[in-house]
Amino acid sequence: MRSWRRNRESGLEAELRASRPEPSSELVNRLEARVRHDGRARSGSFRVAFAGAIAVFMLSALFSVGGLGYAATGAGSAVATAKRIVHSHSVPQVHKSASRSQYSNPKKKCPKGKKRVRGVCKRVKKAGGVNFRRPPFTG
C-alpha cells in the first residue's frame, strides 16, 4: 500500500500494465510447443491432400488430351514386347498337314484272300464263270 500513496497520481494505468502477471517460461514453452505441434500435424495432412489434388488435376488434364489412351497403348506395347522377349521358343508342331495325313496311321494290309471294302477287309469270292487256264502245249 505504501508505494501507491507515493505515486498514485503518476499513473495507475501504467502501473497496472507494468505489473501485469507474467506466465512462467515453462508454461509459455509448453503451450507454444503444443500449438506448434498441432500446426505441424495439420500442415502434414494438408501436404497429403495437396499432393492428392495435384495428382487428380494432372490425370484429368492428361485425360482431356487423350494422354491416358496414349499411355495405355504404350504400356500395352511394352507388355507385348516383354512377353515376346521372355517367351521360350519351341519347335512348332503342325497337327494338320498333307504329310501328316499321308504318312501317319498307315493302313494295315488285308490278309491274303481278302480285300478292303469301305475300310473293312472282306473275303473276295472267286469268279465262278470262266476259269483261266494255260493254253495247251502244242509242241
Binding site: W4, R20, E22, P23, L27, R34, V35, G39
Partner: protein, 169 residues
C-alpha cells in the same frame, strides 16, 4: 479462400491470455490451468475463428472467460495474506505487484473483468465493448469507475459500496 491461423504467433497471445486470467483469478497454478485449457479449446475449435469478427486475442479472451465461468469459485486473496506479505522482506517492485493484485482481487467481479481485459489482455475499449456487447462509451465510463475503486482499495480505505445499478452497467 485461405483461412487465417489465429495461433500463428502463439507467444504474445499466451502472455496476454495469462495476464488476463491472472488478474481475474489470481497469479498461480489456477491461472496456468485456465490458460492451458483456453489454448486446448482454441486448438480444438480453431476452425471456428473468423478474422472478420475480431483479432485472435479477443477470440482467445472470449474462450478464457468461458473457461473461468465454468470453473468453481476459488478463494480470493485474504487480508491475512496481505498482512503476511507486509512483514516479508521483498523488493519494492514485487511488493507493488502484490499490493496491486490484492487490490484487484478486492474489486467486484465486473470491475475485475474490465481491469483484466484492459490492462491484462491489453484490449482497447472498443474491443472490450465488442466482446461484452456494449457501447464503447459505456465501457470507458465503467473502466474509469473501476480504476477509481481500485485506487480507493490501494489507499487502504474502505471502498464505497457499489450500487446495484452501477454494477449492472
Amino acid at each position: 479462400m485461405f483461412r487465417v491461423d489465429p495461433l500463428a504467433n502463439p507467444e504474445p497471445l499466451i502472455r496476454r491470455v495469462y495476464s488476463y486470467v491472472a488478474y481475474r483469478v489470481g497469479d498461480g497454478p489456477d491461472a496456468e490451468d485456465i490458460t492451458s485449457e483456453t489454448f486446448e479449446r482454441a486448438l480444438r475449435y480453431k476452425k471456428s475463428y473468423d478474422s472478420a469478427k475480431g483479432e485472435p486475442v479477443a477470440w482467445l479472451i472470449g474462450i478464457a472467460r468461458r473457461c473461468i465461468e465454468g470453473r468453481p469459485m476459488s478463494p480470493e486473496l485474504s487480508s491475512e495474506y496481505l498482512e503476511m506479505v507486509d512483514h516479508l522482506d521483498l523488493e519494492d517492485g514485487a511488493l507493488r505487484r502484490i499490493d496491486l493484485s490484492a487490490a484487484v482481487s478486492l474489486l467486484e467481479e465486473r470491475d475485475r473483468d474490465l481491469i483484466a481485459l484492459r490492462y491484462g489482455a491489453d484490449l482497447t475499449a472498443r474491443q472490450i465493448a465488442e466482446l461484452q456487447g456494449a457501447k464503447t462509451n459505456a465501457i470507458e465510463v465503467a473502466l474509469h469507475r473501476a480504476l477509481a475503486r481500485l485506487r480507493t482499495h490501494l489507499e487502504g480505505s474502505e471502498p464505497a459500496p457499489v450500487r446495484k445499478s452501477q454494477a449492472g452497467r
